[in-house]
């Protein structure tokens, strides 16, 4: 049986004095063994909250609904949302799911060497492998492990947190904006590393705002807008011709394409409309859009009443030619 993570109708709300933040609404997707799913969207759309919800790391003022079934190897299926903290702490975090955090340099303790931090992770997770071996697999030389975080370049710090995330040999890797602030060669190297993890039989959930990084590794692209997954499609199909108007707008904003911004601004997550949240910014909207569009459950799906047509040419050829 292949391993998978199946997220169904996941919703996360934050309760603030006088307001409720709709951070994630009714999100469904699946990540399978050997695959990389990229969750893309602009900052503040709820992407990172999704990662924290799956890891059970949300603050106390959050309420979560829906399910996230983790099926790996011979272990019985586990619903990450319903699982108690004890189970998450002892069997999931670091062991079945590894988190590559945002801004690696800030995530490492400045007063201890990379080796001390990697060794601690290995010890706590009961992995007898020597730190050097794990570091070598992540592309680090043993002497680089003896440095303090401020002595590491951005790329090296990235490899250190990758090694720490892999210390417990997790099946699923969640990478939360692993490339923000890195230059292109380092982005490329990080993406190659994530792709290798997926090819090794793990699964990767890449959370990013960088469409080009996503294009390098992802098998599937899920687009989030205003707390909802509005589009979910195979990567080649997506980049050949996204069907959701917001996804099309995002692609068209790339400097390599039209470099034109999407007009207007996203709605506040405290004040989401009842219908399609993209309506005020969309040039295809009609009266139907005041009702919330359903995405359905197909592998290639779009939550829009008036999706764009699929491109006529063969999507794969188009993808390669570009």
């Amino acid at each position: 049986m292949t391993s998978s993570l199946t997220v169904q109708n996941l919703s996360v709300r934050f309760h603030l004095p006088g307001a409720t933040v709709h951070a994630v609404s009714d999100a469904s997707f699946e990540v399978r063994q050997g695959e990389c799913l990229a969750l893309v969207g602009e900052s503040g759309c709820g992407k990172s909250v999704m990662a924290h919800a799956l890891m059970g790391l949300l603050p106390g003022n959050a309420t979560v609904a829906g399910s996230a079934w983790l099926r790996t190897g011979g272990a019985p299926p586990l619903d990450l949302i319903a699982a108690p903290e004890r189970v998450l702490a002892r069997t999931v975090r670091g062991r079945r799911i590894g988190l590559v955090p945002q801004s690696p340099a800030a995530h490492l303790t400045p007063v201890r060497t990379a080796r001390a931090q990697l060794a601690e992770a290995l010890r706590e997770l009961g992995n007898p492998a020597p730190a050097d071996e794990l570091a070598a697999r992540a592309g680090l030389a043993p002497e680089q492990l003896d440095r303090y975080p401020h002595q590491l370049s951005g790329g090296m710090a990235q490899r250190v947190v990758n090694a720490i995330a892999l210390a417990g040999d997790p099946w699923l890797i969640i990478a939360d904006e692993p490339t923000s602030g890195l230059d292109r060669p380092l982005v490329d190297a990080t993406m190659t590393e994530l792709r290798r993890l997926a090819d090794d039989g793990r699964a990767v959930l890449l959370i990013t705002h960088d469409l080009r990084a996503a294009e390098q590794v992802a098998d599937h692209i899920a687009v989030m807008y205003a707390s909802r997954v509005v589009s979910h499609a195979p990567a080649a199909e997506f980049f050949a011709g996204p069907r959701h108007p917001y996804a099309a707008g995002l692609l068209e904003a790339l400097p390599s394409r039209g470099f034109t911004p999407i007009p207007g601004r996203p709605p506040e997550l405290t004040d989401l409309p009842a219908g399609c949240a993209f309506l005020p910014r969309c040039d295809r909207s009609t009266a139907a859009c005041s009702h919330l569009p359903e995405a359905g459950t197909e592998p290639s799906r779009v939550a829009c009443h008036h999706p764009l047509e699929r491109p006529l040419e063969h999507p794969l050829e188009h993808h390669v030619a570009r």
Partner: protein, 214 residues
Amino acid sequence: MLRADGITVAYGRQRVLRGADLAVAPGVVTGLAGPSGCGKSTLSRVLALLLRPDAGRLTVDGTEVHRWRHRASRDLRTRVALIFQQPRLAVDPRLTLREIAAEPYQATGRPPGPADELAEDLGLTPELLVRRPHEVSDGQLQRACVARALALRPRYVICDEMTTMLDASTQAHLVARLEAYRRETGAGILAITHDEELLTRWTEPSGGPTVRMS
């Protein structure tokens, strides 16, 4: 012309710039590219009069700069504005977005200017202007930082990896806003980025040069 000649900067014993030259002409976008760690950000701080170089000469429209940071004359230091890569590290977390956008007026003892209109123009609603940095996204905060940078209508704007943290649509919007400002005022823009595609798209319309550091 904002011109740096033979700029040398060392942090402790580590020299990060050795005799760097750069000219930012008014009216065009000058590109500056190079790998991380090559000294792009250090040079941008020198150009914005925020860091005194160990050697070299900086002139702003022909006037040589002798004093730096708060010692620089108000006229000189408000002629160059700097937009940073990480908006969160570039704002006072105690201020609201409206106060951040209006900081330059207060700092120079001027009556409050049209900060609200500028912020609105950059896509910030009145509802967002009353929030503090931790209550908004990176993209929204960077919009306030751009409003702050343009408040005193600088002659030169230095954008140091301004959009690296932002999604494609916000990036395109902020670059379009700066291009509108350049066309309207004839200001010179220095676009610092390691993204070659962005660099080409940004410098092309004005035909400005691209400088590569290594």
